[in-house]
Symmetry: C2
């Protein structure tokens, strides 16, 4: 008996891939038959972590065991994300082995035990995360180890640098590259689509990448997509910016801070906000996008992400210091986050608000216009394009004389052509059950109404908000109109609203009129 009879060259651990079409979202899963000889000889059971290797690439996947007849003993299957990550095709033969233990998990344990991590540790962890080597459990352990203020300023800087290091980094032929970011949680906050054309029309470069809504009813990329293509690759994005000085594209098509894309999917379902991770997430994306001057919009409100002026101050201080450390000049702008901005919630409805502000229409939402002017003004001042105190007026002039609107249309054309946003087939308006002053809107549950109506997947879906805080309402005053593309989704959204009559609070009275 010799020890080397069973080496990888003899490849006993080879199975043929067959596509079953199982979407597990992010977690790569490998499926093997319970009577598969590889599984048995390796002693693998469900939940084992397994290295799956093709000649060109290797991933680590979690084992699910097929006890039924879906797979033959010499077959394996992968979850949809694992097919993509491995670049595998139906019929490919994969080699299966025990993965090398991840050294970076010792760093995660050290952080859980309260030790401070250094730059090299964060690079190991983030490197493994970016290449998909962490299971959901391991990712959660890292996120939890950093949550609750457990990242020092030095660690936040190290994490940010590590996150920048694992992705692509864009470079622009301009000394000043403007950018903005809104710390989330406020529905309808679509200022980006107004700020970019104002800044670009003012002669600055602003190559904006935006996200799609994951837990929200719309991201900027979703709203913009109702007007023009947004899924541009890097060369296409560069052509638009060369021609127009700005763009508004979906960031998912360019690989900026890929570790953040992975981490964020764990943080959101847990709803844990780590100041350090938030800062690293935002700033790694900005630095990777090639920005030099960045305005950060921080809405403050009881159902926004940042709830008090004190947390906004604290966040602003960390953003500024970490920004400096990674070469970004930052300005943090606090704003009112007590109620949604604009009228629409949902991709097309938010796009309509934007168009109405850009076109200077009489009924354009004043709050959206004003917030966009404040942010644009601060960005113009930060970038040195106007003297301090002149930003707001300069931005207003570019908006009011039509330059911003022409620039927006030119950007849409450069991105592939402008079109009208869709309109929903079904609508229903909910009204106040009695009169009084509107004293509270629950933004989170309002967002939920829009999501149940189909937003952001259904671009036309969402809701129109007919009231603002402080409005005096009559009985039967319209509160919101729900928009949906199917009767089922409309019903679903209305049913949720009916169970949450207190999402509007009207002083001295009830709120929504229950529907008989």
């Amino acid at each position: 008996m010799t020890l080397h009879a069973q080496s990888h060259d003899d490849a006993p651990n080879v199975l043929r891939l067959r596509r079953l079409g199982i979407d597990t979202y992010q977690e790569p899963v490998i499926y093997m038959a319970a009577d598969c000889p590889v599984c048995r000889s390796e002693g693998w059971e469900a939940q084992a972590r397994i290295a799956v290797t093709l000649p060109e690439r290797s991933i680590i996947a979690t084992l699910n065991v097929i006890t039924g007849a879906l797979l033959a003993p010499d077959e394996a299957s992968l979850s949809e994300s694992a097919w993509v990550a491995l670049g595998a095709r139906d019929g490919d033969r994969v080699v299966l082995s025990h993965p090398k233990p991840l050294v970076s998990l010792s760093d995660v344990r050290a952080k859980l035990y309260g030790r401070e991590l250094d730059q090299a540790s964060f690079e190991r962890v983030i490197g493994d995360i970016a290449t998909g080597r962490y299971s959901a459990i391991e990712l959660t352990a890292f996120v939890a180890a950093c949550a609750g203020g457990r990242l020092s300023l030095q660690e936040t800087i190290a994490l940010t640098r590590a996150m920048i290091g694992v992705g692509d980094r864009l470079a622009w032929p301009a000394p000043v590259v403007a950018d903005k970011h809104s710390v989330g949680g406020l529905p309808g906050n679509r200022t980006t689509m107004i700020v970019v054309p104002i800044i670009a029309a003012s002669g600055l470069v602003m190559p904006k990448t935006s996200s799609r809504g994951i837990t929200s009813p719309a991201g900027t990329a979703d709203a913009m997509e109702t007007l023009a293509p947004v899924a541009l690759d890097l060369p296409a994005m560069q052509r638009v910016v060369d021609r127009e000085g700005g763009c508004i594209v979906w960031g998912g098509a360019v690989r900026l801070s890929p570790a953040d894309d992975v981490i964020i999917r764990i943080e959101r379902p847990l709803d844990i906000d780590s100041e350090g991770q938030l800062v690293a997430s935002v700033l790694s994306k900005k630095a990777a996008a090639g920005a030099t001057h960045v305005v950060i919009d921080v809405p403050i409100g009881p159902s926004a992400k940042i709830r008090t002026p004190e947390s906004a101050e604290s966040l602003g201080a960390v953003l500024t210091v970490v920004g400096q450390a990674v070469g970004l000049t930052l300005d943090v702008v606090h704003g009112d986050g007590a109620q949604p901005i604009g009228r629409g919630i949902g991709p097309a409805l938010e796009a309509r608000d934007v168009l109405s502000v850009l076109r200077g229409e009489a009924g354009a939402p004043a709050d959206l216009r004003e917030r966009a002017l404040v942010l644009s003004g601060r960005l113009l001042e930060l970038a040195g394009a106007v003297t301090s105190g002149q930003g707001h007026a300069a931005a207003a002039s570019v908006l009011d004389d039509g330059r911003a609107w022409r620039k927006f249309q030119a950007i849409c054309e450069a991105q592939g052509g402008m079109h009208e946003p869709p309109r929903a087939r079904y609508t229903h308006t909910l009204v106040a059950r009695s009169g009084g002053t509107l004293i509270d809107i629950d933004n989170r549950r309002l967002a939920r109404v829009a999501k149940l109506a189909g937003a952001p997947k259904s671009a036309a879906a969402g809701l129109e908000l007919h009231v603002r805080l402080g409005d005096t309402l009559e009985p039967d005053s319209p509160l919101i109109t729900v928009h949906a593309q199917s009767p089922g989704e409309l019903q679903y959204s209305l049913s949720y609203a009916g169970e949450n009559l207190d999402l509007f609070r009207i002083e001295n009275s009830g709120s929504l009129r229950p529907i008989p």
Copy 2:
């Protein structure tokens, strides 16, 4: 249009269950077709958490979306553990809905943010965990929030009480109920099978529940099962204890501390030891088993779970205080954890060591005998059966005069009949490449060799250890003999040993002889 048209009574969200046979281990998963109308109208995507309801029971499962042809639009499937948890059968019609948000997740977040949790918080969290309401991500967040010494003594007591509260609690008609626990990590530590007959033969009650090996090559339940049935339900266990005063059964068949069973499966792959959670885990099981007097065996060694005398002291102090709080009288016994105990590693091989000690055979492993006598003696003293200082002698007398051996046979008979442990079909002995003094054994990698040979699933598999620390070896001295039931598993185990020649360290020389 009325709001109440789509209520749950109309049950639009009903799908027919079809068994696909997918084992995801612990995490309950529901599979739905991508074109399933329920999925679409609810806006559910992969990874959504969904309440799955039958008239009698409801569980929360994670959604995986089937993009292939495995399911029709009106069908759903469940992972194997979810079928069991829901008590569902093929063809059953389930109602699907958005689960109510878990209030206890706010407690988890509070703990992550560094706040101290009270009894009510732990009860909420543990109640939801015990009923399977946490996803793997949520479980990990809780485990991580408590890791690294973040549980205060008060919190550890509260957690222990909460864990006792959610399971069954056994009661025995005796004022003193003896128990023992070994803090894991040391292969071959099968003292339980010797301590129980000594204690029972001494007239005390010792209804011992043990675990199976999850990450180790054998648990006491695995070793005992090679000699007698261990999967006894509560009435059967009670009959054995009534008749013989003691039993050695598998704890999985009785529902003691069910939350611990869930938590432990997340802690192990992460390899994070939380002192507080370890204490709560051990003591909740002891209290639930009805114990009053408990000896805790803490082996200390570089590759044991507890690595230094200081951590053993600290753990012992917490165990004692928390034990008192939940009504347990405890004694903590430190022991040498530098090398495996006994000769065998693997269920049947460890059972043979036990038999040889009980029968008083000449070649019986002296370390296993001595450790069992120390623990039995301390337990006899703690329970007041003998005066202080007389325990070891009393235990030795019960072992040496054959009473313990007769009691063990009687217990096996009462549990369903004693049989001989199986022998492996294939063995191979690895030898030292050169002479010298054996100065180190890596217990963890040695355990891995035994596991790759098939232990504990293959009861006869594992290894025999032919050497002890401090032995003087000649070149070609036998070190270990690997036992396996298939040539593949034998090869696999030997191949791993061949890549880890340093798992034995021999002074002034190499270690294992590489196999040509």
